[in-house]
């Protein structure tokens, strides 16, 4: 259950629409920050594939590839989720038949993408090997 689902259950379509717009907006903000991060990395020569000219050891090179594969795949999923949420924010008021099951599945998908990030964040950003 999520806030949009609760509001819809009580017939508050306006509130549900606001929640969906906010969700899509925050997803977009996340993607924008990711774009800035990629830009800074690529500017420093840290690119997907081979960054051996930047790093001395092969482990760092492998980490960068894993970082791009994992965050890139997550970004693709999030892009789909943002489009889905934006679409639902339009549909929530226009639809003539109840869309509850549709919202339910969209919510499950959003939280699935969320759980992936819950693990990616500490593994990729907070890991440390030394003091």
């Amino acid at each position: 259950m999520n806030t949009t689902g609760v509001l819809l259950r009580y017939g508050k379509k306006g509130g549900a629409q606001l929640c969906l717009i906010a969700t899509a907006g925050l997803g977009l903000l996340f993607l924008a920050l990711k774009a800035v991060e990629y830009h800074l990395d690529i500017r420093d020569g840290i690119v997907p594939g081979n960054s051996s000219h930047v790093f001395q050891n092969n482990s760092a090179n492998l980490f960068v590839n894993l970082y791009y594969a994992a965050t890139g795949l997550h970004a693709v999923h999030l892009t789909i989720a943002v489009i889905w949420m934006a679409g639902l924010s339009v549909a929530v008021k226009r639809a003539k038949r109840p869309l509850e099951s549709h919202f339910h599945v969209a919510g499950l998908y959003w939280h699935f993408v969320d759980v992936i990030w819950i693990f990616l964040y500490p593994v990729l950003y907070l890991g440390r090997t030394g003091p």
Partner: protein
């Protein structure tokens, strides 16, 4: 409605506290334990999301068994990783 929303925001607040704990733990050098702490907190956060936001709390038995079987499958895959880690010639 108020009760449902209060519960959702309480879970959200809990997730934010755990997020602060993860970030805070990154500033303390625990050596190899850092990974254990990070992934431990992440597992609790994921459990909260699955239980409340993904509705396992109100799901029927079949859905819960399906979720548990996915977790079991994930453990098999991670177990395969561990086997490679311990047996690979370095």
């Amino acid at each position: 409605m108020r009760r449902d929303l209060t519960q959702l925001f309480a879970v959200y607040a809990g997730l934010l506290v755990l997020f602060a704990a993860t970030t805070g733990a990154a500033f303390v050098n625990l050596g190899a334990l850092n990974v254990v702490v990070n992934l431990g907190i992440a597992t609790v956060k994921a459990a909260l999301v699955y239980w409340f936001f993904m509705e396992l709390r109100t799901a029927d038995g079949l859905v819960r068994i399906a979720a548990l079987s996915v977790l079991f499958w994930l453990l098999i895959l991670l177990g395969a990783d561990v086997v490679i880690w311990f047996t690979r010639v370095r």
